[in-house]
Amino acid sequence: MERRSTRIGLALWALLVTAFLWIPLLLILVYAFNRSNVQSWPIPGFTTHWFRVAWDAQEVRDAIWLSVRAGLLATGIAILLGSGAAFAIARFRFFGRESVSFLLVLPIALPGIITGMALNTFFVFNHIDLSLWTIVIGHATFCIVIVYNNVLARLRRSSPSLLEASADLGADGWQTFRFVVWPVLSTALVAGGLLAFALSFDEVVVTYFTAGAQNTLPLLIFGYIRLGQQLPVVNAIAFAMIVLTVIPVALAQRLMRDTGVLRRGAANVTEATQGIPAV
């Protein structure tokens, strides 16, 4: 009896937590279809009008395009630098190795406002105009960590003798890369990349300090809400962003789970999610 009541209690608790996390989001999702431009409950009627308005607005389109470009570029940089750093840390012993590892992960623990301020100061100091590239650099600081963590976890979990085994069996360097290194690492890279993109796509604080005159999508929304304008349009955009963010994150989790590289069970969940900070 007691075990049953415990089970029911736990299930209820889990339900409450899930509700706590999702009810605000669901509210936005519903408001996106609100016929009135006044937010009141229940909504007076259903419409997809605001999606059309959002889609037709040039500044929304520009913001989306800027966010996509910044996200892709930051992710690309993160994949190059993050995986390179992970290789160095996992495979070589060198002086200051622990410190480098710490310094790499630190930016994600630092408050975004500090990172943003520091970058802004740096750019101004060097007379660098704020542009797409300054946004990309700002985003890369935390995107690198995501890829780095994912690839490092994968490298630590795979036997260092895999490369030797491949060479021992007669494979040359290119064959070893193609048949062993890439398949073992690719899912970690893709998952890390997807998470990095998702983070970059909705980043506000660092972007605020590095964006200059142009708006990324989150900055645009931030501006709309601050001025209290276009709330129905914001809801429609939020709807699209939730969907766009959920897809890569879900995909990343699935990628980390389905590979034979990892043991079944808790290990893969931690590996897939450890790159995601509380945003």
Partner: protein, 344 residues
Amino acid sequence: MATQAPARPGASSAAGAPAVRLTGIRRTYGEVVAIAGLDLDIADGEFFTLLGPSGSGKTTTLRVIAGFERPDAGHVELQGRDVTNVAPSERPVNTVFQDYALFPHMSVVENVEYGLRVKGIGRKERRERAEEVLARVRLPGLGARKPIQLSGGQRQRVALARAIVNRPPLLLLDEPLGALDLKLRQEMQVFLKELQRELGITFVYVTHDQEEALTMSDRLAVFNEGRIEQIGTPADVYEHPETEFVAGFVGVSNILERDGRRFIVRPEKILMTETGDGEAGVVKEVVYVGGFTRYIVDLDAGGELVVVRQNLESSSQDALEERGKRVRLSWRPEHTYDIGRDRA
């Protein structure tokens, strides 16, 4: 410095050049000397074991033969060909790794075919050869599984199959049974020995387990601190240990000093009686081990000896009552071996 005991007759010099010849091999990591000047000949078709404690240089020696380590000095010859500067992928050698190093994203059969695949052998032939080898290591029908779905013993055999499918003249095994439990390990010892005989190829086997080395090898080399202390057949090394280290590492260290002579006598060669001639002493400890009992005897003239006695007619109770008794220990002079050479 090690002496070269003659190889097992018939095993050596069949093809002229030895399967492996190491001359003057030296390998250091910064200040640490892993191998300090090593010469070794391994005959064609031999089951040769590198035995020693961890850090003694045995695994480094294996890795030098495979080509994963470049020696700082010295030469590696395989079947008469100098391969010191040849990449691992170009050496006629395959390795069974201690952690198996199976490719996690490939199925069992893909793992086994890997060596054939990178050599450009057609899908049909390599599939056939892989299945054949999997049957030989008693893993038929598991080809579609991923390594993660196998038990430790099964993974070990996949690693073995992946190496021998390439039909190498020389197989290197780095503590391949280290991760298995005792019973499985003993089964695999017999299996590996049979396999080596069937394939007729040279096995170089690294282990720290002296029993494994004695059971399986045609000859073995005992490693200590980057050097070979002794090379010989299991009987040679067990019965005629040349140094104190070998005496202690291979078997029980039963060393006595009498009249300025240091010698060793193996526990099973000692006759323990209550009266009569021989060294007088007191039974200090009795260890009942099922099939036999181990006695530790404190000698009046100094030192202690381990004596082993089979529990033929006696019961465990009889054996345990021996504790504290005065006994006489005797042995035949030919069963003692002088330890003259102590390594500097």
